[in-house]
C-alpha cells in the first residue's frame, strides 16, 4: 500500500489544537507550527504498515494437506560498504598477516533458506556465504521439528494474523486514548497455541536480541554483550517451545559451543550440556495505537572447558644479545620441558531479562519501538575476551545491557539509536609496578542508524557506530580506548 504523496491539508491546524493549550503562548505556537510542517511533509499514512516481525520466530503457517510436502525457498543478501573504520590501516596484522584494512565492500551475509513441511514435521536448512575473511560458505542452521498444534485461532482472527497493522485504504487518522493491555485475542495472542520440539543446529533460546533474525534486525549487527556471550546465534541442541495464549516457553539442551566461539565451535569437548531457556509474554492491543509489549526472562546454566596442554621437550634457545653473530655461552638458554596438564571443566551461568514496547504514538510518523535487555553472567564470554576461570584462578563475572529505540518516519524511513554496554570482567584489575588498581574491561557502542525501506525486509541502511573499548593503552600504561568508530552502509534484499 502506497500512502498518498500529498500532505494532509488539515494537519497543520489539527495538531496544535490537540496538543497545546491556547494559553501556551506564541513560542509554543511557533514550535507547533514547525512540527506541523514537518509532519505535513511526511506522506499521510493511516495505519502503520509495519512488518509483523515477532521477536521470537515460530511458524504460524497452516500445515500442508495430508500426504503433501511443501517446500519453500527463502533467502536474503546483505551487501556492506564500510565507508570509514577508525582502526583501519593499510597494513597486515603482525601475528596473522591478515589485512588490517576494513574500509571495503563485502558480502556480510548471503543466506539461502529451505523450508520443508510434511504433516507435523518441519525441516529447515540455512546456508550462509560471506566474504568477511575471503569467500566462505557453510551451514548456518539446520533443524528438524515436530509441531503439535494445540489450538487453532478462530476464523475471525485470521486477518489480524496476516497483517495486524495493515493500512486501511481511505481511512482518516483518528486519535484515541491508550487502551489497556489485554490478554485476549489480539495480533500477538491470536496465533495458535502450539508445542514444537526441534533438534539440530538451531537458534539458542536466550534473550530477545539473540533470537531476532539477522534479516529482521534493523541494526547491522548484534550488541557487544550478545556477540561476547553468544558469538553465534546457532548451536547444536534439542529444543522445546510452547506457546499458550500470551505465554511463550523455550527450553533447550545445547552443546554450549555455538558457531563462532573459536577453538571448539560447533563441537563439544565436554559431556555436560548447557541448559538454556526463556519464558516470555507477548501482549498486544488491537486499538489504533497498536500497542505491543514483549518481555521475557532467560537463563543459562552450563559447563565450559579449559584445555590441557601436551608435554613438551627441552629446548635450547640462543639469543644473540650482543649482535656478534657468534654463539657465546652466556647467550644460550635451556628451556626445560614440561609435563602434560589435564583438561578441566568449569561452571558458567547467565540470567537475563528483556523488554520491548511498541506503539504508534503519532499515526503520521509510524511505529515507535523501545527495547532493552540486561544480562548477568559468569564465565560465559566466548567471543570478545573468552572467560577461563581455571586460567585466571577466579570466576569471571560479566554484565551487559542494551537499550534503544526505533521510530518510523513515514512509510519508508526509519531511524534507530541503540546503546549497549558490556563489562567483560567486573573484577578486572591492572597490576602496576607497586600496587594493583581496578581497571576497565568495558566495551560499549552507541549506534545510530537511518534506513530507507523498500519493503519490510528490503532496505538500504547507514549506521554510525561509536565504539569504546579497553583495547588501547594510555600514556600511564593502563587500558584505554582504542579508537574504532565505523560508518557502514548496507543494502539488503530478501526473497
Amino acid at each position: 500500500m502506497v500512502a498518498p504523496s500529498l500532505p494532509c491539508p488539515r494537519a497543520p491546524n489539527r495538531l496544535p489544537q490537540r496538543r497545546l493549550a491556547p494559553s501556551d503562548g506564541a513560542r509554543l505556537r511557533h514550535w507547533a507550527r514547525k512540527w506541523a510542517l514537518v509532519l505535513a511533509l511526511i506522506p499521510a499514512r493511516p495505519g502503520a504498515a509495519r512488518a509483523d516481525v515477532p521477536v521470537i520466530f515460530l511458524p504460524d503457517y497452516p500445515p500442508p494437506a495430508p500426504g503433501h510436502t511443501d517446500l519453500q525457498l527463502h533467502g536474503y543478501v546483505q551487501a556492506d560498504a564500510v565507508a570509514w573504520a577508525q582502526d583501519s590501516e593499510d597494513q597486515l596484522a603482525p601475528s596473522t598477516s591478515a589485512p588490517l584494512n576494513q574500509e571495503r565492500f563485502l558480502i556480510r551475509r548471503a543466506r539461502l533458506e529451505a523450508d520443508v513441511r510434511r504433516g507435523p514435521l518441519l525441516g529447515w536448512i540455512e546456508l550462509d556465504a560471506n566474504t568477511i575473511n575471503g569467500p566462505a560458505i557453510g551451514l548456518a542452521s539446520a533443524e528438524i521439528s515436530y509441531l503439535l498444534r494445540l489450538h487453532a485461532p478462530p476464523p475471525s482472527h485470521a486477518p489480524m494474523l496476516a497483517s495486524p497493522g495493515a493500512p486501511t485504504p481511505g481511512a482518516e487518522p483518528t486519535v484515541t486514548e491508550p487502551e489497556p493491555m489485554v490478554a485476549g485475542p489480539s495480533p500477538a495472542t491470536a496465533r495458535p497455541d502450539l508445542l514444537m520440539a526441534s533438534m539440530g543446529l538451531l537458534r539458542t533460546p536466550f534473550g530477545a536480541e539473540l533470537q531476532e533474525r539477522d534479516r529482521d534486525r534493523l541494526f547491522l549487527e548484534r550488541s557487544n554483550v550478545g556477540r561476547a556471550l553468544f558469538p553465534g546465534a546457532f548451536d547444536l541442541a534439542a529444543r522445546v517451545q510452547a506457546r499458550w495464549r500470551v505465554l511463550l516457553l523455550q527450553v533447550a539442551l545445547s552443546n554450549g559451543n555455538p558457531a563462532g566461539s573459536g577453538q571448539y565451535a560447533l563441537q563439544d569437548p565436554t559431556a555436560a550440556k548447557d541448559l538454556v531457556g526463556r519464558m516470555g509474554v507477548a501482549l498486544a492491543s488491537s486499538g489504533a495505537r497498536a500497542l505491543r509489549l514483549e518481555a521475557g526472562v532467560s537463563f543459562l546454566r552450563g559447563t565450559g572447558f579449559h584445555p590441557g596442554t601436551p608435554a613438551t621437550k627441552d629446548v635450547l634457545v640462543w639469543q644473540d644479545e650482543n649482535g656478534s653473530g657468534i654463539v657465546q655461552p652466556s647467550e644460550i638458554e635451556v628451556i626445560p620441558g614440561s609435563p602434560a596438564t589435564p583438561s578441566s571443566d568449569f561452571h558458567r551461568f547467565a540470567a537475563g531479562c528483556d523488554l520491548r514496547v511498541s506503539a504508534t504514538l503519532v499515526r503520521r510518523l509510524g511505529e515507535l519501538s523501545a527495547f532493552g535487555e540486561v544480562i548477568w553472567a559468569a564465565n560465559l564470554d566466548r567471543g570478545l575476551i573468552p572467560a577461563d576461570p581455571v586460567a585466571s584462578g577466579r570466576d569471571v563475572r560479566e554484565l551487559g545491557l542494551l537499550a534503544g529505540a526505533t521510530q518510523e518516519l513515514g512509510h519508508h524511513l526509519i531511524f534507530g539509536a541503540r546503546y549497549d554496554y558490556y563489562d567483560a570482567d567486573l573484577d578486572s584489575f591492572a597490576a602496576l609496578p607497586i600496587r594493583v588498581v581496578p581497571s576497565s574491561s568495558v566495551f560499549s557502542t552507541t549506534a545510530f542508524i537511518m534506513a530507507w525501506r523498500f519493503s519490510s525486509v528490503d532496505r538500504f541502511a547507514v549506521e554510525l557506530d561509536l565504539n569504546r573499548n579497553p583495547l588501547g593503552r594510555g600514556n600511564n600504561g593502563l587500558p584505554a580506548n582504542l579508537p574504532s568508530d565505523t560508518l557502514t552502509a548496507r543494502a539488503q534484499l530478501a526473497f
Partner: protein
C-alpha cells in the same frame, strides 16, 4: 604537535580541531575530555551553536565527515618495541612526572633490521609506564613498567625488547625514554644512544647477491668457470689444480628461509676473494614460495664493492615445479670475469 592533544594523536576532523588552538575557548571539562581522547570525534565538532538547525546540520555532517584514524600498529615506525602499544605523535618529556633514573642497553651497536635488542632501566618512584620513541618516527611506544628490584623497592623498572627497521640509514640513533606516572604526567626525557653498524659486502673480489621481497625460499646458484656450482647444498667450491695462482675458491653465505623456516633475511650471497677468470653463470631457484604468492628477486654482481651487473625477475608457483638441487633454477645472467 604538543603532547597535550589526545596523547599526541593528530585530530583530522575536517578543520573541527586542528591542534591546540582549537581547544581554546572550550570548557575545562570538555578540553580535558578532548585531551584524554574520551570524547568521540563527533562530539568534538563545533556543534555548540545554540540553534537546533545547526545541531541537525552537525548530525548530518557526522555521516559525511571522515574523522580521525586510530594510531595503528606502528608498522611504519623505524623503532619497534615488543609488547608495547603504539601511539601517534612526537615524544616529548615533561617536568611533573617521574624521571628515568638509569638505562642499560646490553648492546649499544646494532645493524639495520636488528631485532630483540634488550634495553633495561630503572624509573623514578610512582612511574607506571615508560614511553620509548625514535626522533623522526610518527609515533612512540607505551610500555607498562615492571615491579622494582629488591634493592630499590620504590623504583619501578622496565625491560624493552627493541627492533629496528632494515631501512635505517642514520649511523647514530638516539632513543628517547620518558617515564610516566598514574596521572599521565611525564618526567624529563632521557636518551639512549645506539651506533648503527653496516655489514658491507667485501670491497675486494667478486660478490654475487640475490635478494627478494617476500617470505619465500629462493636459492642462489652460481657456476664458476670450472663448472663448480656454489649453492646452499655446496657451500664452497673445491680448489682447482688448474686454477691460476692467487685465485681462491668461492664460499656461499646463509641459506635464507630454508625449508620455509622464515628468518627475515631474504638474501643469499656467493663470494670469491680472488675469483678465477672465466665465465660465471647465475641461476635463481624457486625452491618454494612457502605462503607467498610470488617473489620479486634481484641479482647483483659486485666487483670490488661496486655493483656492475643487475638482473631481476619474478618467481611464480610455476617455477617451483622444476628440479631442485645442483643444476636447478632459471638463469638470471652470465658474465665474464677478467
Amino acid at each position: 604537535m604538543p603532547s597535550s592533544t589526545r596523547d599526541g594523536q593528530p585530530f583530522r576532523c575536517s578543520g573541527a580541531l586542528n591542534g591546540t588552538s582549537n581547544l581554546a575557548g572550550k570548557s575545562t571539562l570538555r578540553r580535558a575530555a578532548l585531551e584524554a581522547g574520551t570524547l568521540p570525534c563527533s562530539t568534538a565538532l563545533p556543534c555548540s551553536a545554540a540553534s537546533r538547525s545547526t545541531a541537525l546540520l552537525c548530525a548530518s555532517a557526522l555521516l559525511l565527515v571522515a574523522c580521525s584514524k586510530a594510531p595503528g600498529y606502528g608498522a611504519t615506525a623505524q623503532l619497534q618495541v615488543s609488547g608495547a602499544t603504539y601511539a601517534a605523535g612526537a615524544l616529548t618529556g615533561g617536568n611533573a612526572g617521574p624521571a628515568v633514573i638509569s638505562t642499560y642497553a646490553r648492546n649499544s651497536s646494532i645493524t639495520p633490521g636488528h631485532q630483540e635488542v634488550l634495553l633495561d632501566g630503572t624509573l623514578g618512584p610512582g612511574a607506571t609506564a615508560v614511553l620509548l620513541g625514535l626522533p623522526g618516527d610518527p609515533g612512540y611506544w607505551i610500555l607498562p613498567a615492571s615491579p622494582p628490584d629488591i634493592e630499590t623497592p620504590d623504583q619501578p623498572t622496565f625491560s624493552a625488547s627493541l627492533g629496528f627497521a632494515a631501512s635505517i640509514v642514520s649511523p647514530q640513533l638516539q632513543i628517547t625514554v620518558v617515564a610516566v606516572d598514574l596521572a599521565g604526567q611525564r618526567g624529563p626525557a632521557s636518551s639512549v644512544a645506539f651506533t648503527v653498524l653496516r655489514v658491507a659486502p667485501p670491497e675486494v673480489g667478486l660478490v654475487v647477491e640475490l635478494d627478494w621481497d617476500s617470505e619465500a625460499d629462493l636459492d642462489l646458484h652460481v657456476v664458476d668457470p670450472f663448472g663448480n656450482e656454489l649453492w646452499a647444498g655446496n657451500l664452497t667450491t673445491p680448489a682447482e689444480p688448474n686454477a691460476d695462482a692467487g685465485t681462491s675458491p668461492g664460499t656461499f653465505g646463509f641459506d635464507s628461509n630454508a625449508n620455509c623456516v622464515i628468518d627475515g633475511l631474504r638474501a643469499e650471497t656467493a663470494t670469491w676473494a680472488a675469483p678465477p677468470p672465466g665465465t660465471y653463470v647465475v641461476r635463481v631457484d624457486d625452491f618454494s614460495l612457502c605462503r607467498a604468492t610470488v617473489a620479486h628477486w634481484n641479482v647483483y654482481v659486485l666487483r670490488d664493492g661496486v655493483v656492475r651487473l643487475q638482473a631481476q625477475g619474478v618467481a611464480t608457483p610455476a617455477d617451483s615445479r622444476f628440479v631442485k638441487g645442483p643444476g636447478g633454477g632459471i638463469q638470471a645472467l652470465s658474465f665474464a670475469w677478467q
